[in-house]
Symmetry: C2
Subunit: 648 residues, 2 copies
C-alpha cells in the first residue's frame, strides 16, 4: 500500500531533512535511537574510530590548516588539497554534530568548537568563505563556477550548521551565524539581479533550502529555486564530458532520467525536491518522480549503486551497467539515499524506502572497513585482479583496484559515510496523522507523538541475519492509530503476527509495500513482521548486456558475492559457473552455493568457437554479503556468477 | 608454416621500417603498388581529400602557425593547441612524404617544402624543437617528461624525416638535417651521463632507431636502447592512473602482457623490437613476443582494436573487453599494426600478418568516413544511443557517442590514418633468400629481386568481397624460388591452384599459415589462392563476461555489424536476438541474418526474474561490414548479437 495522508510539520526534529509538508513527517534522532544490531555496530565504529580517523587525516593533509593559513596570510602558497577540500571539513563538522546530538561528549564537543572557530576566523567580513579563491594570488571569487566548487562547499557548510542547529538548538558556537552570513552573500551575488549562473557541482540547493527551513528565511529557498531552474539552460561552459556532466544539458522539469555525474545528479535532485516541496511545485516534483523511476529501472546496479563510468563518474546509457567497471561511487549511493528519502517523505511510497535499504546495505555499508578506518571510493561489482593493499600512510590517488584506502586525494567519501551513519536513526521511522511507519529495521527505541498522543515502541531483530522484526508497544495512546511496517519488494510471502498484551494472536499475510495494523494499542502489544530471508537467485533484464547469462544471489536486503579466498587455492572467480537448479544451502550463518570449476581452454585468439573444458571439480563455496568483501587480503570477487548450462 | 630463413638488408627501400636483419625483408612502395580494390580506393580518397582536409585544419587550429609564432616571438601568448600539437604537423609531413613517393606531384611537394621550412625556422641553434616549452613564459625544456610530449613529438619528426629520406633520397628540403640536429641534442641531453629519464609517451624510441638506420648513426640506436631500458624503473612520477599508464611499472624484459595506455604500449613495443633487432637482443625480442601473444589472446577486441578504458585510454585486465565501452582508439590500432609488422619481419610468422589484416579492415578502415574528411577517434563495438552529428566547423572535444568528427582537440588519429594509408603498399609483400611472400591482398603490382633475380608479379582480386586472389607471374628469374601466400587463420578449407603458362593445373589444400609454391616460375604462370569467405558465426571465450551469450558474424577479414537503420522503424539493436542455428544468407553482396525481435517487459526494477516477451517479429536484416557503419545518420549498432535461446 501507499501512505497517502499528509502532515504539516509542527515540531522541529533532529533530522537531516525537515520538509514543511509531505505525506510523512520524519522523526529525529531524539525520537529514534538505534540500539544495536547491524547498524548499531556500525554507528559504534563510526563514533569510536572513524571520526578520529577523519580528524587525523584532515589535519595531516592540511585541509583544516588551510583555514588557519587564510587568517595568517599563508595562502595561497601553503594551501594543500583540491579545490573542494573545505567541504570535507564541513562534512566532518556535520558528522560531529550528529554524534554529539546522539550522545553528548565533552571531547567531541571540544573538537567541534575548535574546528568551527578555525573555520569562522577565515570568513571574510562580507560573508565569503573559501580557502581556494579570492585572495591575492588565487583565482577571483566565482571565477570558475564549472570546477571551483565554491558554492558546493558552502552547501556542505549549511548542512553542517543545520545539523548543529537541530541537534543543539541555541548552541553558542557560532556555526549557524557563519552559515547565514555566507548564505546572505550568495543570495546577494547570485540572486535575480546577480550572476545568472550556478555551481558545477550541485549541493548548495539542498543546503539553502534546509538553512531556510531552520532560520525561516524565505530568501534562501528562493535562491535555491533560482539555482535549480538555471540547470539545463547552458549557463556553464561546455566541457569534454558534455554539459550533462553537471546537469546543465536539459532543464530539470523536462528531463526523463538522471544523467551525468552521479553525485551531482542526486544532490541536485534532492535540492530540487526540497524546492518543489517548499514552493508547492507539483510539476517539478512529478518530473523528479519520473526521473527516479527511470533511473531505478534502467541505470542502477543491483547494489543500489549508481554511476557506470570511471571517466566522468557518470551514469551510462540505459542498461549500461558493467559490473567490472562499476564506478558506483560511495557518495553517489549516499546522495541517492538523500534523494529517495525526500521522495519517501513527500509521497509515502515504499519503493523509495526499498531503494534506501538496498543502498545502505550494499553501498554505504560496503565502503568502510569493519574497523572504520579504510574506505572504498568506488564500489565495483566484479574485481578481476587481486587489489593491492593501500599505503596506510598516504592518501590514495584513487587507484581502481586497490583494497580500501585510509584516505584519498579526493576524499569526499569517508566524511560522507560518517555523517550518514551518525544520522542514520533519522531514516528509521516517520509519522503521519494516522500513525507511525517503520521503514528500516534495526534494534531501536522509538518515542514520539502520534495524532497528539505519546507513543513509545521498541524494535528487536537480528535482521538481516534473521527475518523476524518484533515491535513491542511500550506506551500507547488511548486511541486508534496505525502501525505500518515496510515489506520489501523481494519479501514475497511475508507475514504479520499481532500478539495482544492480553494474549490474543492474529496472523495476516503481508504484501510488499506497507503492512498495517490499526487499533488502540496497549502497552505490551507485540507486532512481529516475518520476512522470508532465504537466499534467492536473481536474473537481470535481458538488455543489461554485461551480465547476460549470469545470476546473482541475494538474501534479504543483502547482495551476496563470491570471493576468491573462499575458492580452492589457485582458482579465481573467472572460471566458475553456478548451476541455477542446485539448491542454495545455509550453513553456519553462511549461504553456500554449489559451483562448477570449468577452466576455458587457453587459445591464441579468444574468438572463434572456443571450447570449455568439462567440469574439473564441483565445489561448495560460501558466499558472503558483498559489504564484507575485501576484508581478508587481496582477492578477486564477483556478484554476478555465470550460469552453468548444458554444453556451454 | 613459418618463414624462418633470414636476410641481411642490402638495398634501402621506401618502406616505413627497414631492420638490418630479420626473417623477411620489406619491399618498399617503389617495389609494390596497390592498383585498386578496397585499399586502392582508400588510398585515392586519402590523397585527394584527407591530406587537404588535414592541412586545412592544421592551419585553422593554428598548429602550423605555432612554429611561425616561435620565430616571430609570438609564443607563448599566441600558441594554440595541446602540448603535442607539433606531432600532428610531423605526421602530416610523413603522410605527404609517402604520397609524393607514391606519385610525385608539384602541389604536394610545394606544401611539403613550405611546412618543412616553417618547422625548420623554429628550430633553435642547439637543435631543440618544440613550440610549447623552453621560451620565456613557457615551462623549461624537459620539465614535464610525464605529460609534456617533447620527445614524443620529436619521434614523429624523425619518422617524417625517415619517410622523406627513403622516398626521395638526397632531397634538399632540409628535413633530415632538422631531425638529426634534434636527435643529436636528445643524445646529448638524455645520454648515459644526461637526464636519466624518458618521455611519458613512447614514440621517440622507434623514431631514433629508424633515423639511425637511415643515417648510419649508431648513437641514435644506443639512445633508443637507453630509453627502452629506462621503462619500468620508476623514472617517471606516479600518477592517478599508476605508472603502468606509461609503461614505467615493470621493466620491459620482465612484462608478460601489454598494459596501460594502449598507444604508448604499442609504440614502445615497436621501438623496443627495433632496438632488439639492431642490438641482436634475443631476450628483449622474446619478451615482446610473449607480450604480443598474451595481449592478442586476452586483451584484444575481435576488431583487432586495443584499449578497453575510456578513463586512461588503457588496456583493461585480461578478458575485460566491454563492447559498449570499447575505447579501441584508432591510433592504438595503427600502433598495433606497427608492432605486429616488426614482429612479422623479424619472425616471419603468419599470426602477425593475420592481426595486421584484422586491424586494418576493422579499425584503420573504420576511422575515416568514406569521404575521408571525418574520423572516429574511439571505435566502439556497441553504440547504445544514436550518436550526434558532429559540428563540421569545430574540433570535437571527443564526445563519446558522436558520429565521425572532422577534427579533434586531440587530433592524433586523422594524420595517423593518413600516413598509414599512404604507406600501405609497403605492408603487402616481403622477400627472403628463398622467395617472395604476399601478406595482404589487394590488386597490386610487385617488382623486386629475389635471390639476385628480377621478379615481377601482379595480383588481381576482389578481396574481401570475393575470396579468390590471382597472382600472375610477369617476369621470373630463371631459377627456383618460392611464392608464399598467407592463408588467414579463419580460412579453413582454403585451396591453392597453380596454373602454369604451359597449361598445367595443380590444386593443393592450403592450411592457415603460408601456402607455398616452389618452382622456376615462367612468365604467365598463375597462382590462385581461394579463400572461403562465407559468413561465419563467432563465439567468445567464456571469460569475456561482457559478451557472454552473444555471437558475432564475420566474413573473410571483415567483422560485421548490425545497425539500427537496417531494422524496422522504431526498433533498436537492444531488442534483437539471433538464432544461431538459422543459416546466414548472402544477397546482393550483403550478409543477411534472421533476427527475432523480443522486447523485454519494462519493470520498475530490472533485477529479479524478468520476463522476456515472446518473439514479436522475425526479420531478415542485412549486416554491414563494421567499417561501413555510421554513414547513414545517427543510429545504434552492435557487433555482438545476443543468441536467441529457447526460454531465454
Amino acid at each position: 500500500m501507499t501512505l497517502t495522508t499528509s502532515h504539516r510539520a509542527t515540531a522541529a526534529a533532529a533530522a537531516p531533512v525537515l520538509p514543511s509538508s509531505g505525506a510523512l513527517r520524519p522523526l529525529g534522532i531524539e525520537e529514534v535511537a538505534i540500539t544495536g544490531g547491524f547498524w548499531g555496530a556500525r554507528q559504534r565504529v563510526n563514533r569510536r574510530a572513524t571520526l578520529a580517523h577523519i580528524g587525523t587525516w584532515l589535519e595531516r593533509e592540511g585541509w583544516i590548516r588551510n583555514f588557519e593559513l587564510a587568517v595568517a596570510g599563508g595562502l595561497p602558497e601553503g594551501r594543500r588539497g583540491r579545490e573542494f577540500s573545505d567541504s570535507e571539513v564541513y562534512k566532518y563538522l556535520e558528522a560531529l554534530a550528529w554524534e554529539i546530538g546522539r550522545a553528548p561528549d565533552d571531547e567531541l564537543e571540544r573538537v567541534f568548537r575548535d574546528v568551527v572557530s578555525v573555520v569562522g576566523a577565515a570568513q571574510e567580513p562580507d560573508g565569503y568563505l573559501n580557502t581556494r579563491f579570492g585572495r591575492p594570488g588565487q583565482g577571483p571569487r566565482w571565477s570558475d563556477l564549472e570546477w571551483g566548487h565554491e558554492l558546493y562547499c558552502l552547501g556542505h557548510l549549511f548542512q553542517a550548521a543545520v545539523a548543529r542547529a537541530r541537534t543543539k538548538p541555541g548552541a553558542d558556537d557560532g556555526l549557524l551565524e557563519i552559515a547565514t552570513r555566507a548564505a546572505d552573500l550568495v543570495c546577494e551575488v547570485f540572486g535575480e539581479d546577480g550572476i545568472p549562473s550556478m555551481c558545477g557541482h550541485a549541493e548548495i540547493e539542498t543546503g539553502l533550502v534546509e538553512l531556510g527551513r531552520v532560520t525561516g528565511e524565505p530568501r534562501y529557498i528562493a535562491q535555491a529555486k533560482l539555482f535549480v531552474d538555471r540547470h539545463g539552460t547552458g549557463v556553464l561552459a561546455d566541457i569534454e564530458f558534455g554539459r550533462s556532466y553537471f546537469q546543465d544539458d536539459i532543464p530539470i522539469r523536462e528531463a526523463d532520467v538522471l544523467r551525468g555525474h552521479a553525485v551531482r545528479a542526486n544532490y541536485l535532485s534532492s535540492g530540487a525536491l526540497d524546492v518543489a516541496v517548499e514552493t508547492a511545485d507539483g510539476e517539478l516534483s512529478s518530473a523528479l518522480v519520473r526521473q527516479w523511476d527511470n533511473t531505478v529501472a534502467r541505470r542502477t546496479y543491483i547494489t543500489g549503486g549508481q554511476g557506470a563510468h570511471h571517466q566522468d563518474e557518470a551514469f551510462g546509457a540505459d542498461f549500461e551497467l558493467p559490473p567490472d567497471r562499476a564506478y558506483s561511487e560511495t557518495c553517489a549511493g549516499i546522495a541517492s539515499v538523500q534523494f529517495s528519502w525526500r521522495l519517501l517523505l513527500e509521497r509515502g511510497e515504499a519503493k523509495y524506502a526499498d531503494l534506501i535499504e538496498r543502498t545502505l546495505y550494499n553501498v554505504v555499508a560496503t565502503s568502510p572497513s569493519s574497523a572504520g578506518t579504510a574506505f572504498y571510493y568506488a564500489n565495483t561489482l566484479h574485481q578481476r585482479t587481486p587489489g593491492e593493499v593501500a599505503d596506510p600512510d598516504a592518501p590514495s590517488a584513487r587507484a581502481e583496484s586497490s583494497l580500501r584506502a585510509p584516505w584519498f586525494e579526493v576524499s569526499c567519501c569517508p566524511p560522507n559515510v560518517a555523517r550518514t551513519l551518525a544520522s542514520l536513526a533519522a531514516y528509521v521511522a516517520t509519522v503521519d496523522e494516522e500513525g507511525l511507519q517503520i521503514h528500516q529495521y534495526a534494534p531501536a527505541t522509538i518515542s514520539t507523538t502520534v495524532a497528539g498522543h505519546d507513543v513509545a515502541l521498541h524494535v528487536e531483530t537480528d535482521y538481516p541475519a534473521a527475518g523476524d522484526i518484533r515491535v513491542t508497544v511500550d506506551a500507547a495512546a488511548d486511541a486508534e492509530w496505525t502501525l505500518s511496517l515496510r515489506v520489501p519488494s523481494w519479501a514475497v510471502g511475508a507475514a504479520l503476527e499481532v500478539r495482544s498484551a492480553d494474549g490474543g494472536v492474529q496472523t495476516l499475510a503481508a504484501e510488499p509495500g506497507y503492512a498495517t495494523v490499526r487499533r488502540a494499542f496497549s502497552a505490551g502489544d507485540v507486532v512481529t513482521l516475518r520476512l522470508p530471508v532465504a537466499p534467492r537467485l536473481t536474473r537481470p533484464d535481458a538488455r543489461i548486456d554485461a551480465i547476460r547469462g549470469a545470476v546473482a544471489v541475494e538474501r534479504g536486503p543483502e547482495v551476496l558475492a563470491l570471493e576468491s579466498v573462499d575458492l580452492p587455492a589457485g582458482i579465481g572467480v573467472d572460471v566458475v559457473a553456478i548451476d541455477p537448479d542446485a539448491p542454495l544451502r545455509e550453513e553456519d550463518g553462511r549461504v553456500v552455493a554449489r559451483l562448477a570449476i570449468r577452466r576455458p581452454v587457453d587459445l591464441p585468439w579468444p574468438f572463434g568457437d572456443p571450447e570449455v573444458a568439462d567440469d574439473e571439480q564441483i565445489v561448495d563455496v560460501p558466499l558472503i554479503p558483498y559489504h564484507e568483501w575485501a576484508e581478508r587480503g587481496p582477492s578477486t570477487m564477483r556478484i554476478w556468477i555465470p550460469e552453468r548450462r548444458a554444453g556451454a
